[in-house]
Structure formats: C-alpha cells, structure tokens
C-alpha cells in the first residue's frame, strides 16, 4: 500500500466515527453501556499490567471464607501439620536409604527442616468471600475479567478477520472462488459444533489460553463469512464499484479500499456480537474441559468451580462471576445495538 492509500483509509474514518459518535451521544442507554464496557476493559487492562488484583492467588483467608456481612464468629480452622517423626525412628525393613547421610547432614545444619513451618495466619471472612483455597473472590473476578475479555476480544478478532477475508474473496470474485469457499463453509457448518470443538481442541492439543482463542476463532468465523459475502455480493455491482472499475482500480483496491469501508458497520457489529458470544462460550469450553490452564483464572473456570459450591451454600463465587459476566455481556450487547444504529448508513444524519 502506498502512503497515499494509507492516507485515504485513515481520512475516511474521522467522519464515520464522528457520525457514529454523534448518534451514539444521543442514545442514553447506549452511552451508559459504553461506560460499563470501558470500565470493564480498564479493569482488565489494570489487571493485565499488574495494577489490580496482582496478588489474586494469595491464600489470604480460610477456605470458603464467607463474605464479611455473613461472617459468624467461627474459629479459624488452623490446619496444623502432623509432626514429622524423626527419620531415625522409621523402620527401613533392612533396606538402605542412599540419601540418609545427606539428609542427616541437612537436618543437623537446619533444625527447622525437621518440623515444617507453622501455618500462616489466615482471616476467617473476606469482603466478598473466598474460594476453595482461600483466595479473594473479588480479586479473582477482576483477574478473571482479564482472561475472559482477552479471550472474547482476540477470538472475535480472529473469527471476524477470517470471516471477513474469506467472505470478501467469495462475494467479490464469485465463480469458482465462491464455489470453493462456499463448499468450505458448508462443510464447516454441517459438522456439529460440539464435535468441531472437540476436533479442533484435539488438533491444537491443549496449549493454554491461545488454544481457547483458536478454538473459538476457528469455529466462529462462519456467521461473519456469510454476512460479509452477502455484503460483497451486493456491493460488487453497485455503481460506485463499477465506477471504480471504469477508473481502472485494481481488484485489491476495489475489494479493500472501496467496498470494505462500506461493510465496516457489518463487521463491527459482528465483531461485538462475537465478543459477547465468545465470552459466554468460554464457560461451556471450561465445562467440556478445554478451559484455561490452572495458573490462569477466567469467569468460565470460576463458574465451573462454583458448580459444586452452590449446593453447599457457597454462592459467592457463582454470583461474582455470573454477575460480572452478565453485566459486561449485557452492556456489550446494548452497545452493539446502539453501534448498529449509529453505524447504519441507511439512517441519514
């Protein structure tokens, strides 16, 4: 791309955005939801850069410490280790331990080796309760927002990018390109979603958060593809594209400089629909066992932990993760609707 083309791309946006901003500003609910989404994104950024919930994995309370306002004066159950019997008293049944001399030496130097350290003091209630290990549910929810939002956003970007590029090629060129990509699309949509998840998960073979993103991205592109293809089918015969052709604009230029900006509202709306869908899907992936790795926490993993806790009357983790998710997803959906209206080219300012 030449610098001029870049300048063209960047210079169309101000008006698109200005227009959208103007329309959005009139939509009170849309604005409120925007604030909520921004709040969550700031929160997850804060957590990502370590300003927030940095010590989320510290076990500060007893297991399942209740929220403060529910706290009873129960004794903190201190989990004292049983004292270790001196090795010398253990019957080796005639066998020799090659490590014995070494351990004797160590124990002679460090008497504290013989007895394990005393348990650290833990509180017996927390602001919004603690999880199974005694970690703060609030901090966990904040930390979880980082993963869930990251997963949702990046996976949505991946899915939307795949869907957009394939849809653009398919709709723009038509002919055998369209036939082939359509075939590919049909194959993908014909396979049951559940099995597709299993299959892709098996291919990717569990590598952590990136796996989840790829599973969601690789299974979620089909909807975008269908819509973008339809948009391109519609636009490629529009007079402005024909005019560009008459002007000698290349395929690339017509596809991405001319048509793409005109499908941007569809792409953006699909993107945010996907974000919402993927944040929710992460819960199901966790349920199926393809969740985040242990050292990471997400809302999906929290809800799955909470599965067995509700019956025990430990509702705080379920509520924290559930409410956080519902709030963000609702705000995002409302924002999507507002965005759809704001970006709709049919509605003249």
């Amino acid at each position: 791309m030449t610098s001029q083309e870049e300048s063209m791309i960047s210079s169309f946006s101000p008006s698109l955005w200005a227009l959208a901003r103007k329309r959005l500003a009139r939509d009170a609910i849309g604005l409120l939801s925007l604030l909520v989404v921004v709040f969550f994104i700031l929160m997850s950024l804060g957590s990502y850069f370590g300003f927030l919930a940095k010590n989320w994995d510290q076990e500060v309370a007893i297991n399942y410490a209740p929220p403060t306002w529910l706290a009873t004066n129960q004794e903190s159950v201190s989990a004292l280790q049983a004292p270790i019997p001196p090795r010398s008293q253990i019957d080796l049944y005639g066998q020799t331990d090659p490590l014995a001399p070494l351990l004797d030496e160590l124990e002679a130097h460090n008497p504290q080796d013989i007895n394990s350290p005393p348990d650290q003091q833990k509180v017996n209630h927390l602001v919004f309760g603690a999880d199974k290990w005694g970690r703060s549910v609030i901090l966990k929810t904040i930390k979880g927002s980082e993963t869930s939002i990251l997963v949702g956003l990046v996976a949505a970007l991946v899915a939307t990018a795949i869907g957009t590029v394939l849809g653009a090629l398919s709709g723009y060129f038509g002919g055998w390109v369209d036939d082939f990509l359509n075939w590919f699309y049909n194959v993908f949509t014909a396979i049951p979603y559940l099995l597709l998840i299993f299959a892709i998960a098996a291919v990717l073979n569990q590598k952590g958060v990136s796996t989840i993103i790829l599973i969601l991205g690789l299974t979620g592109w089909t909807g975008v593809y269908r819509l973008i293809r339809a948009e391109y089918l519609k636009h490629r015969h529009r007079e402005y594209v024909l005019a560009a052709k008459a002007m000698g604009a290349s395929h690339y230029r017509r596809m991405f400089i001319h048509i793409l900006p005109n499908t941007l509202h569809v792409i953006l709306v699909q993107l945010s629909i996907n974000v919402v869908g993927f944040i929710k899907s992460e819960v199901i992936l966790s349920f199926l066992g393809f969740g985040v790795p242990v050292e990471v926490v997400s809302w999906g993993s929290m809800l799955n932990e909470a599965q067995n806790e509700l019956v025990l009357g430990i509702w705080w983790q379920l509520v924290a993760a559930g409410v956080a998710m519902a709030l963000l997803v609702t705000a995002f959906s409302v924002l999507t609707d507002a965005l759809r209206d704001a970006l709709d080219p049919k509605v003249v300012a």
Partner: protein, 594 residues
Amino acid sequence: MINHLRQLVISSSVLFAVLVTVYPAHSAPLKVLHLSLSAAETGFDPVMTSDLNTAAIEEQLFEPLLTYDYLARPVKLIPRLAAQMPVISDQGKTWLFTLKKGVYFSPDPVFKGKLREVTAQDVVYTIMRFMDPKNRSPYKFLVDHKILGLNALADQARQTGHFNYNAKVEGLEVVGPYQLKIRLTGTDYNFGHAMAQPMFGIVAREVIEAYQGDTASHPVGTGPYMIGQWIRSASINLVKNPNYRDERWHFTSQDPQDQKIVQAMTGKRIPQIDQVDIQIVEEAQSAYLSFLKGELDVFGVPGQFAPNVLSGTELKPKLQQQGIQLQRLVDPAIAYYFINIEDPQLGGMALSRIALRRAILMSLNDEEMIRVIYKGQAFREAFPIPQGVEGHDANYQSLIHYNPQEANDLLDKMGYKKAKDGYRRQIDGGPLYVKYTTTLTSQDRDLEEIMKKSLDRIGIRFVSEKLKFPEIIRAERQCRVAMRLSAWIADYPDGDNFMQLWYGPHTHENNASCFQDAKWDKLYEKTLALPNSPERDQLYRQLARLLEINGVTKVSTSHIRNVLIQPWVVGYKAHPILPSTWAYIDLIPEGERH
C-alpha cells in the same frame, strides 16, 4: 409474560405430579429400589465388561462360582453357584468345584420355554470365552497363562481366526455334570478371587451363539434379577428372575451393629425387592439433589458434597431427623503419585535424580488435598496395599513427608540451582520441569492446582498435559508420562493386585512408573510363591520401603465412601468389594412409609 409462562409450566407440572403419585395406588405395591450410577453402562456381556458400574448390574444378572460374604469383614469368599468351597490340592494348582443342582437360567426365547439347568460344561465355556480373541476381554488377565492348555487354544484361534470351543482343555476337566476340576499352570492361591468376579458369571453357550455379535444386549444369567426396561445410557430397570432358585438370607456376623440386619433379614427369600430402577446421572449435583428429594434410595455421596452431609464423621442432625442412615467404609483403593523412572528429566537411578524425585514427593501436601479437595473424606495412606485388602499394614510409617523446607535444602545441596525466573534448572543447567498429566475433568483441575502449588514451593516449573483417559493409558504404557496421581482399585482383595504395579516385567503394561529394579523384582517374585502370611507381609513392607527410598512412588490417600441410606431401606450394609448387594436388602413399600 415470562412470569405467566412460568406459572403455566409450574401449574401443569404440579398437576401431573399429582397424577403420578395417585397412579401407583391402583396397582399392587411394588418394591422398587431407586439408584443412580455416575457413568453409563457399557453393555451386559460379562466377558467384555471393563467398568465397575456395569459390573454392579452384572452382579445381579449373572452368578460366578464364588462370592464374598455380605456381612463378614474382612471380606471372606463363600460359594455362590458352587455348592461348597472348592477343594484345593497340589499346592494350589488343582481346584475342584462342585456346582449347586437345580440352578436355572432366566427365561429367554432361545430356551424355547424350557428350563435350562447350569452344568459344569457351562463353566468351562464361560472360562474359555475369556481367551477368545474376538471377545477382547479386559479381564482376560485373571485366567491368562493360568490354566493348563488354554493359552494354546487361544494361540490357535489367533491363527485360524476361530476359537474351538469344542476342544478338550487339559486344565478344564469336567468330572461330572456338576463337577469341574481346574488345573493351573502354577501355584495361585488367588484363583478363588478370580472366580468370584461378576465377569465370571456363568453364561449358556446356546444363548451366546444365538445372539452372536449382540450378546451385550441380551444378558441371560442365573442371577436374582434380569433386565426389564432398558434405555441405554439412561436407565436400567431390573426385575425379578422368575427362575431364581429358593435361596434364603442366611448371613451371620459377630458385629453387634449387624445384628439388626441379621434379625430383619434372616430366612427371607432372596431377592425381596421387586424392581431395581437405576438411572445414569453424570452430574454430581443432579444425583445429590435427587437423593435429598427422596428420588434415590441409596447414594454414595460425592466427596465435594460431604460438608453438607457430615459434621465430622457423623451425619448432620437434619438428615438424622429424617431417618437417613450413614455408612462409612474405606474403599479398597489407593491414590498414589508415581514418577517415571525412564523420564529424561526426572528418571534414572543416579543419586541426584533420586534426590530430585524425593524432593518432589516431599513437596506434596496430602493433608491440604484431603482437607480442601476431598473435604476430609480421605485419609493419608502410606502403604501401597489399602485397608481391607490382604497384606495391608496399618502400622507402616512413610519415609516421605510433606516438608518443602527440607526438599528445598536438598535440591540446593544437590546443585539444582534457581535461574532468574525463580525456577530451578538441572544440575548441568539444562531445563527442568515436571510435566504432570491429567484428564480434562474438573476434579483433575483441582489436582493440577495442588500440584502447581506444590512444585512452586520447591521452585520447580509445572507443566500441564491434559489428555483423554485412553490417551493417558497409552502414554503410560509407552513410559511417556512423567508424573501423575494415579489410582488403583482392588480387582480382588489381595495385596498382589497392588504390588504388581511396580513389577519390572509389567513395564509397558501397567507399571506406569516403568520402575525396573532387579532387587525389587526378585523380592516381588518371592511373594508370588507365598499364600497370605506374615512372611509375605514382611516382604511387602520391604517392597514398599524400596519404592519410597528410590523416589518412585508416594502413596497418597485412601478414600472414605459415605453411603446414605433412606429410612425405608432395610438390611443394607455397604460392601467394600461386591459391586452391588441389591438382592440382599429389602424395602418398606412406598405406601407404608411415613
């Protein structure tokens, strides 16, 4: 609108609930036992059975020659289809079984309406089936290479593609219509346990041949029950076998707590309950709530719900008031950590590697795991043979204790230095991490968390590998699993069933630690020639100690089974080995409960 809808749904379901409760009053009061299983059955051909849930149902459909006494603890073998205990001679090499007379198979179209009696030939056929390659029996090992001449027949079948069931086998001699002499290839005092497994329930040849290829859907046995309604993977309904012989409840016990059972049940005809309704419920919450609602009669509480049911070792008062009973018993199983001796990072018998493994095992906090994950429904078990299994040693003291401090010192001393990232490297500076293998389930996620925490304590990097269960087994057999918390449940209550897990020649089979040590193997082989005796016990202790010294294994826990019983269930006693005992209990019919 939504509210409206809900009301509609609720009112309609209330209406039908009424209909449903009214309905049974019209028919004769049936005694129906309601139960749940946590995983789907896999079909009811005993020779192909591989899981406990299926075995539990087969225990009621089929009858092996022997069984375990309902009340006796520790468990004791008693005759079932056999008329009396087998006569063992020739240093445990020859076993003479005599069958009960007048034992008939449950009705099936194959018998064309005639009664079909069990004979010794049926036992021979049943045992032969385990060696037929076509049946690919998971419990083949119980007879494999054990019966004279039988393996030759299997080899022949593998070549010809056809198993000759008519062939005479030296080790399976029919002495008379009701007598059978089994000759073993070597001394085996445990052969009786094999013959007590539900998989060895006797089948009829003509039935198996009639349903060739679909035997799993047509179970025909001699057990007290037979299959009624069956919705695959969802619900199985057992009904009384009309051909069941007149068998009376006759168990005795010295335990004063059992006297009530004995009193209530003695002399009653087996079985008392008309139908057993078993539902497959995979989600623990569903099963648990279902029991609380009275939809289930007997229920093993999943560990995670124990705090709701128990205070300490007692049932919560609220449940006690409802008349619910609690029975606690120790599963004849162990959970144990093993480290792969062939693993390039952790394996080898060099002192530094032994120290590394010992340090890793010392970082594991079993107490925390019991408290947080198992909710106290497990206890620290150091010996590889669990309670209730012959060879168990209750006084055995572990060499390896939770002691991260010392583990760290040990690693420092051996030269596993920490790099900038805070994690240790190999002595030569190479990469060091523990690749820990688990499945995708949420329970295993808890174990992963424990493992990660433990390794962090001693500065060793944790790497997780999640595989499906069959994949784990494959990886273990290929000695590719570096470390895992594995579990082993007794196939039969003898220590050998556990100790063989570390036997060198079992590498690539079920010795997942791939521990091959000449000294250990020699000691183990000595135990094989011995019956259950103090001499063998001493050898077992030495074997267990050697596993610890070499850092191969740390036995972690044994689990407590908490069984909840509804007040209307009579005569229930949880059994550690028998997969199901439904024929031995009774119910107060629904109409007579209050």
